[in-house]
């Protein structure tokens, strides 16, 4: 991205903020081998996506302790996106499948606790799928915009 284009994004974001539109803050955990590389590809290919996601690189989605996700929500993140390798493609054989099991239980737990279950989302994006990653982030931002801000933050 050139400095000029960055400035444009900034000012349009500032405009939206001035209008009082809700800009979600999303934490995205990306696995080093697929999604992080996919995000990199999306960047170098200059694909456009909303700037709301803060990417945190982890070695594998299997490394993500469920408490990281709950802590992020507790600290005021509007949504948490977990992006990993497609099933069968995990660099460590089965880390993403373990995350899938955890994620299903976590979503169940979050729903039972009275939060919108769509605040957490799991997606697969390989290193070659910059477009899938871009679409994933865009869809996540739209979903969270519909749900509204995390109420923890308002206080």
């Amino acid at each position: 991205m050139t400095a000029a284009s960055q400035q444009i994004t900034k000012s349009s974001k500032a405009k939206r903020k001035a209008k009082g539109e809700f800009e979600p803050r999303i934490v995205a955990f990306c696995c080093n081998w697929c999604s992080y590389a996919g995000a990199d590809l999306a960047g170098t290919s200059r694909m456009q996506m909303p700037p709301n996601a803060r990417i945190i690189r982890v070695n594998c989605t299997g490394r993500i302790n469920v408490s990281f996700i709950l802590d992020a929500l507790h600290q005021g993140a509007d949504g948490v996106l977990i992006s990993g390798c497609h099933p069968g493609d995990c660099h460590y054989t089965s880390g993403n499948l373990k995350m899938q099991g955890r994620f299903t239980l976590l979503r169940h737990l979050v729903k039972e606790a009275g939060l919108h279950p769509d605040r957490v989302h799991l997606q697969w994006a390989s290193a070659a799928e910059g477009d899938v990653f871009t679409q994933g982030i865009t869809a996540m931002v739209e979903r969270i915009k519909k749900i509204g801000p995390n109420k923890v933050k308002e206080r």
Binding site: V66, S67, G101, E112
Partner: protein
């Protein structure tokens, strides 16, 4: 010199007192060293007696139970003022206890369910005369006032309470272990291949073998090892009543992380095995969890 001790009960089952009294003759070793100044469970003291004492005049204060009523909250604050060392005694005190599970709902819903909609109620009304009033949200006591010593358990075993009291009387530190119930458990453990989770009433649990390996939800791996693995030793799955070890930030998160690693099941099947995840994973410590704290912040609970 005998040390002055006050024991206060907030909303709870008073089982911690029961556990202390269960020391029987063992009490004879401790009692002469203690001067009881407040203990409504066994001695006729009133709140005014405690309030009349000078500040910081009591050496040891033990607080059991959580703050469900505003009177509990007052008693807790009075205890903090009067006692030099405050012990949060039992899981209710430290984590909010079973009452903490109520944080899933708002106070209004709880009161209506209990006093109006309950099937056996014949004269439905919410009591409000001569009542201290309820708190909106269960907050663990250490988040309300500073607690110097934590002693979890539902209840803490008689030995736990004796150990803590002895440590306090001899000015020794009382630290919580980072080890889990599994470290104390005598059952034989093997490589885990869990294909199906069973409810406790399904089939029979085989003695001598790890209960989790047999497909029953035993929470020993995520629970503080202070009880001597009482339940798993007699083939009863651990319910996690001692709460997470000090190095775990959230009990349920730890349990989910571990289950995801050991269960060889389809995700939907795994989800179906736990119809009530909050009740199963946060038996006594939901009020101390991230999810409950988020609800608390939404309700504007700050003490």
């Amino acid at each position: 010199m005998a040390k002055r001790i006050a024991l206060a009960q907030l909303s709870s089952c008073w089982g911690c007192d029961q556990s202390l009294v269960d020391l029987h003759l063992g009490l004879l070793d401790v009692l002469p060293k203690l001067d009881i100044v407040f203990w409504p469970t066994v001695v006729d003291y009133k709140l005014a007696d405690l309030e009349a004492l000078p500040n910081r005049s009591v050496h040891i204060g033990m607080v059991e139970g959580s703050c469900r009523t505003k009177e509990d909250l007052h008693l807790l604050k009075v205890m903090r003022e009067k006692c030099k060392t405050l012990v949060a005694w039992g899981s209710c005190s430290i984590f909010g206890g079973v009452q903490g599970l109520a944080n899933q709902w708002d106070l209004k819903e709880l009161l209506e369910r209990k006093f109006i909609q309950a099937e056996t109620v014949t004269d439905p009304r919410i009591p409000d005369e001569n009542m201290p009033g309820f708190t909106e949200h269960i907050t663990p006591n250490p988040q309300i006032v500073e607690c110097d010593v934590l002693l979890p358990g539902c209840p803490p075993t008689s030995e736990n309470t004796l150990d803590a009291l002895t440590a306090l009387l001899t000015n020794k530190p009382f630290d919580l272990p980072t080890k889990t119930v599994c470290d104390q458990c005598p059952m034989e453990r093997k490589e885990k291949h869990i294909k199906k989770f069973k409810r406790n009433y399904e089939g029979n649990i085989e003695a001598g073998k790890c209960i989790l390996d047999q497909g029953y939800l035993c929470l020993g791996f995520a629970t503080m090892g202070l009880c001597g693995a009482q339940c798993p030793s007699v083939t009863t799955p651990c319910k996690g009543c001692f709460g997470p070890t000090p190095i775990m930030s959230d009990h349920g998160a730890k349990i989910i992380s571990a289950l995801g690693a050991v269960a060889e099941m389809e995700p939907e099947e795994l989800k179906g095995s736990f119809p009530d995840p909050i009740g199963s994973f946060y038996f006594t410590d939901y009020a101390a969890s991230y999810l409950s704290k988020m609800r608390g912040k939404e309700r504007g609970q700050e003490h």
